[in-house]
Symmetry: C2
Subunit: 302 residues, 2 copies
């Protein structure tokens, strides 16, 4: 094990390097036009969670943006195993990125640029860690910013266009909240920075259908809820439905299911993490301990 | 003069390096959240054009995003002079960038991150060069994508959220056009990838007021037109006004005023670059030869 890689290992230009040394060209249009896509898969206790689903989505995202990264699906999987394996991390946040690449001098046509691929593994990232989850999050519904429309940037193609989400975060902080969820131009709930949102409303679980990433954690919750006999309605979610909800939780690869106990300063339900949230959260982490969704990481000498 | 710098010189982490070697951290949130702003100023025949206006806008953009780059305005100007001076370029495209920076492990709060500053000078970039301008550009009005709303991302804060603009470009190419202009959610004309748009409509010059970058070249055209006694209306521009226009041109620091002679396959006016366009373009380049808007570059030994 290389100690310099324990804080994270990145794949850049065919080399595996410590995360602190990982750099991309200043002129990569993945930066200068945010012309790129990415995906994040978790490693938990030495196993990737739903690796195939993340690779499928990454492939689809690349195709939607007319990006052809220099490595195919199997090679991407191999690189992700290498990044985690070389870092030695048992619980990791693993990202793959395809960018438009570096144009030749004066070139502005994205069709004429060789696309690039980057990846890295760092210690598992929590939007809210287990201590914060015990108390529950304080979520704000952003008032001063709306989510980028799907007619401008497709939210189902995972992207770094976070300007609206970061504005929402600053607004949440100004209002003493931990995080923000944004509404669309019609005032319907969409998503927040890196997460989908669910509510228990009149005994049913609800989550937005449109204007959001089709999160793998979101999908996992839909499947776990079905197995638990919980009715889920995927459709339009109005802010009023969140205000009347008995439970709210966020879903993300960076933290799983995270209970929300305050919404715009008002208690959600009893003000404690709800029973349905805790049950689904337990099922979610159970599913990480083995079974069809877990792919053991190839650790060196392992 | 360092020959390696002749293709461009960048400023990264306090060092001046050849543009081909300039890299930013993979984990800079300027990349991973497109949480950054930038500005571009031209150098023409050894002089910056309207440097103060660009520095003013950059300062305002940073403030709007709550970014505090580690270098102040005078230091930014000094770095830009150094980048151009060390490259030896007489005609250059000069960019300054402020990013959120690299978070500590697990940190997701943008307030707790040290912001970063990058800059570079490369040879002058043309959206359309003088040969292409002689024929005039073929512009498409995008039908399948709309411009990101100002309620999501403020277009007056220059940003790398180009996903919508790149989609517009691909659509334009599919329709055999050179470039695209996007409409907003209400169907009004906004801007294209890196440019504002003007039309000569019923004898008046018109350009959109809202949902666009307040381009310095746009501002220069407004001032030059006033000096020429040309009436300009800055307001809502409908696609029909472009279709009925006798002249259309694009404005950008990357190319100045660029005539459009085809709109969605139909000739604009006579199908040749228009008289008003050519007159303003001449005044624009005249203004680069000296006067209040020109700041001579400090070249080494110069």
């Amino acid at each position: 094990m290389n100690a310099a890689l324990a804080a994270g290992c990145a794949y850049v230009d065919g080399q595996y390097v410590p995360i602190a040394e990982a750099r991309i060209p200043l002129l990569d249009m993945g930066f200068s036009r945010s012309d790129c896509t990415y995906d994040v898969v978790a490693v938990w206790q030495g196993g990737f969670f739903r690796l195939d689903a993340h690779l499928d989505r990454f492939d689809r995202s690349c195709a939607c943006l007319q990006l052809a990264p220099p490595v195919g699906r199997d090679e991407v999987a191999r690189i992700l195993h290498e990044c985690v394996g070389r870092s030695g991390l048992r619980d990791a946040y693993v990202e793959m990125i395809a960018t438009r690449g570096v144009p030749n001098a004066g070139e502005r046509d994205p069709r004429r640029i060789t696309n690039r691929f980057y990846a890295y593994a760092i210690p598992y990232v929590w939007i809210a860690n287990l201590d914060q989850q015990a108390k529950g999050l304080h979520l704000a519904i952003a008032r001063n910013v709306e989510r980028i429309s799907p007619r401008a940037v497709d939210p189902t193609v995972k992207n770094f266009h976070w300007g609206d989400l970061v504005r929402g975060l600053f607004e949440a902080y100004d209002r003493a909240a931990d995080n923000a969820v944004l509404v669309d131009a019609n005032g319907f709930i969409t998503e927040g920075p890196g997460f989908n949102v669910f509510a228990c409303y009149r005994g049913q679980l609800v989550t937005p259908a449109e204007g959001v990433l089709h999160g793998i954690t979101r999908q996992t919750v839909l499947e776990l809820a079905a197995a638990e006999g919980i009715t889920v309605r995927v459709g339009r979610v109005e802010p009023e439905m969140l205000r009347e909800a008995s439970e709210i939780f966020l879903t993300s690869t960076a933290g799983g299911l995270m209970p929300v106990t305050l919404l715009d300063g008002q208690a959600v339900g009893t003000g404690e993490p709800g029973a349905m949230t805790l049950r689904l959260r337990e099922r979610y982490w159970d599913a990480h301990r083995g079974g069809q969704w877990v792919t053991p990481v190839h650790y060196p000498g392992g």
